[in-house]
Symmetry: C2
Subunit: 273 residues, 2 copies
Amino acid sequence: MVKTLINGIETDSLSSSDRGLQYGDGLFETIALRSGAVEYWEAHYQRLSEGCQKLAIKAPSEALLLSEIGLLRRSVRLGASEYDFTQNGVIKIIITRGVGERGYFAANSCEPTRILSLAPAPVYPSDYEKRGVKLKICRTRLSSNSTLAGIKHLNRLEQVLARAEWGSLEESGIAEGIMLDNNDYIIEGVMSNLIFTRHSEQQQSEILTPDLSNSGVSGVMRQQIIDRLKKEGKTVTVRPIHIDELITMDAMLCCNSIIKSWRVQEVDGVKKF
Amino acid sequence: MVKTLINGIETDSLSSSDRGLQYGDGLFETIALRSGAVEYWEAHYQRLSEGCQKLAIKAPSEALLLSEIGLLRRSVRLGASEYDFTQNGVIKIIITRGVGERGYFAANSCEPTRILSLAPAPVYPSDYEKRGVKLKICRTRLSSNSTLAGIKHLNRLEQVLARAEWGSLEESGIAEGIMLDNNDYIIEGVMSNLIFTRHSEQQQSEILTPDLSNSGVSGVMRQQIIDRLKKEGKTVTVRPIHIDELITMDAMLCCNSIIKSWRVQEVDGVKKF
């Protein structure tokens, strides 16, 4: 029950010559539609624009994307769907460099492809917010590339391999995986960012989140949480966090735009909070 | 004038829910059709199978792929094309994990997608084999991931960014770029592998090619050249090669299945051979 618009036309049919498929040459955003609002739209659009700039892809205008999101929501409401997409759902926007000739070289004439889709919001167990979730530490590492770090590009095989390390949520009880870089630093979750709290006798509790200069996605929800904590007068320290520091932490949460934030109850075999 | 078969059907229309687009979750092979022969088929199929195994994607059978290549060549010959695809062309095979639900987790029920295409063989300047080519050293680095190293997966943004560092062949005179890893070791060309020769007064000339354990694609043509040299009684040493060693080399070539091999005449601003 996913609805898709490609370059403004209601279809899910893409040319196999699109560089998004051929090379992962593009970017995406995953945005919550909640109680009728496109949540944190400005932050999502900003990251998408910055990503397009880094990859030298012409970013579609904000107005065009918003009008197409509106079109998707309307077209779904008018259909025979049982799900009310006017209120809740997951919006995914993929922007690729467009259809290209054979080879890595992209002609300037390449016209970016916009793929917008709207899917039902996922349903997670009701005790996740209260009881917290169980995480595992993934064997698959995140590689380092300062140009690609931060942006939400389409090269996601490392996440695919990491997520394949445990079964479905129902079978395994594992809600998310922690990913490290090749030097054993904690970068992020497979689909989320991570925030830690460490108590201190001498001073105020420390709030920490991994530095993402060389790996990882700079999450919209992560930034929202950092901004909110700052408004409350708290300091969030962004710095490299080694896996050996995990046992010294007193609280941990994973966050993204769709799940918002989950308290971590346990890191499998390593730590209980 | 590219002809495409997706899962055996003559179309270039792919579902935008395919994980090949969503995450680059797949592999490819680029194979020369030369004088009517599918060149080095066994080596290409072997690398594709090994890649599928590493990514836990069910590999299509050799017989199925060969029958579909035959179908493509026939369908092109019967069409109104001016190009004789029965003799020469470039065959590209993309295998993705298939169409999936939202999220990184892939259900076991995922059925792989096969995308086979046939395009005209590229035409390169006639003096490339004789006079050699000019290369540049790319700023974009190859990241390290031992699981993904060697296989020809669809996460190719690093190659796209590296290739964008210089203009078209005609404008720039640059035929290929050298890519380094984050520790300044030479890994490969953007679209080729690299082989070096270094003369020695004491002993036989050394033939060297970079170690690809952590980055790079293990090229079919590279292996053909290594095997041929071994048959001639020469030793090819596979080891990490630092960029500082480049000036000590006496000859260099870049190779892939389509270009075969080009002698390097010059590395821009660094070395003339």
